[in-house]
């Protein structure tokens, strides 16, 4: 067989083998990422000089291919489907095929249970730093919670002046106030969508200084972008939320909490 035919045959019969496993919630994370790209673009364009050059940050790693060594090994995953498991407790590798996409089945409904891994990855690892920051998550910061209305959020005393107006269907941005230990901003559409606060740690103790591997050991399904500058994880105990971690030189510099699919389409 000549090369031309061989190539033709490989490329036309390879489809089954080309399937790429994606994590549960992949589509939602892409949609959320697109919103964040857009919001940053709008903020960059409207707040003259204040922001400077804002790089369109790729959010989240919905896709299983992001960072192989940050994922639990596939052998840890029992094959039993277990729809009743809350998403925050489960990591799933779903191989999506055109068949289930066409049938409109939601891959999020198929979940395989895995045990959260809490041991450090290496015995020589000195272990993650013990932090003593304010706790962000699983629902919010102190009385401020994702999903609260503006009035409810303001009643917590943690919402300061508005710094950016989101317009008709976007997120307005408010300064986080009322707690000297943290600074940050809160993104509110009709309800609270994203809480950026610094410095904070998650209820699991994860925060600044943690390595990518250490974060990955705590959150099943955690992954980063290939540039390893941003990573995200489902929030244990809050199926509607994600932690977003920023990394510099492989260590966490910032943690924020957001709805899985924040409703800020227009920034």
């Amino acid at each position: 067989m000549d090369l031309d035919d061989e190539l033709h045959q490989l490329f036309t019969t390879a489809d089954d083998r080309l399937d790429v496993a994606v994590k549960v919630g992949a589509e939602e994370m892409i949609v959320a990422g697109a919103r964040r790209v857009r919001r940053r673009r709008v903020i960059a364009a409207t707040s003259a000089g204040a922001v400077g050059v804002v790089v369109a940050v790729v959010v989240g790693i919905a896709l299983a291919g992001g960072k192989p060594d940050a994922m639990p090994p596939a052998t840890d995953l029992p094959t039993t489907t277990h729809p009743a498991v809350p998403p925050a407790q489960s990591t799933t590798h779903v191989t999506m095929t055109s068949a289930n996409a066409a049938a409109g089945t939601d891959p999020a409904n198929t979940s395989a249970r895995t045990k959260p891994k809490s041991t450090p990855p290496k015995s020589t690892d000195p272990g993650p730093p013990n932090l003593n920051y304010q706790v962000l998550g699983p629902n919010g910061l102190r009385a401020l919670a994702l999903g609260q209305t503006l009035a409810e959020a303001q009643a917590t005393g943690l919402i300061g002046p508005k710094t950016s107006d989101g317009g008709a269907d976007g997120c307005s941005i408010y300064t986080l106030v009322g707690d000297d230990r943290v600074s940050g901003q809160v993104y509110i559409s009709t309800t609270v969508q994203i809480i950026d606060a610094d410095p904070v740690q998650t209820p699991e103790g994860v925060g600044p200084g943690w390595t990518i591997a250490q974060v990955g050991a705590v959150y099943p399904g955690f992954g980063t972008t290939s540039a390893e500058d941003v990573g995200s994880a489902r929030v244990p105990g809050n199926a509607a939320a994600l932690y977003r971690f920023e990394f510099v030189d492989g260590k966490v510099t910032k943690v924020s909490l957001q709805l899985t699919d924040p409703g800020c389409p227009a920034g």
Binding site: V31, R38, L63, A101
Partner: protein, 160 residues
């Protein structure tokens, strides 16, 4: 944005397969698809209005993002020819496929030309339009790619 969510749901598996074909491995495929879809989603209203076929638009964006990313990072990644780390064996559905292995060694633009030609069955003129190069370039890239593949397959064990 709901519209975009629907698009992602429907197009994702196909785009991931396409990315796998373009990049040669599922990890780069996932990364490429995510990057391109997030950018596309940020401008969804405009793009869906202006293009009748967002899947084709996304594929084209993937080809160009992949080719240009490689161009930018070529110096740094010159030493790492194989995209997969050799000390972390994973199940690879193509591992017994000498042709797939040979394709891995091609520079992304040459590989893209072959994917567009054999997977998408595009004409030389169409390939030139997607990549933004002349037909002559498409022709020369394709023949370089074929020569490299022939060379590799000729020396590999079990190669045809």
């Amino acid at each position: 944005m709901d519209d975009f969510a629907d698009f992602v749901r429907q197009a994702l598996p196909g785009l991931l397969r396409y990315g796998h074909m373009l990049t040669g491995n599922p990890h780069d495929a996932a990364d490429l698809v995510q990057t391109v879809l997030e950018r596309l989603g940020a401008r969804w209203a405009t793009i869906s209005r202006k293009t009748g076929d967002p899947v084709a638009y996304a594929r084209k964006a993937m080809v160009n993002a992949h080719v240009s990313r490689w161009r930018r990072t070529r110096k740094e990644s010159l030493l790492a020819e194989m995209p997969d780390t050799p000390d972390a064996p994973r199940h690879d559905p193509f591992e017994d496929e000498p042709l797939w292995e040979a394709l891995r060694g091609l520079p992304p633009r040459q590989r893209a030309v072959l994917v567009l030609r054999y997977y998408e069955e595009k004409s030389e003129a169409e390939i030139a339009a997607v990549l933004g190069v002349s037909r002559g370039t498409v022709k020369s890239q394709a023949s370089k790619a074929m020569a490299t593949l022939r060379g590799r397959l000729g020396t590999s064990v079990g190669g045809v």
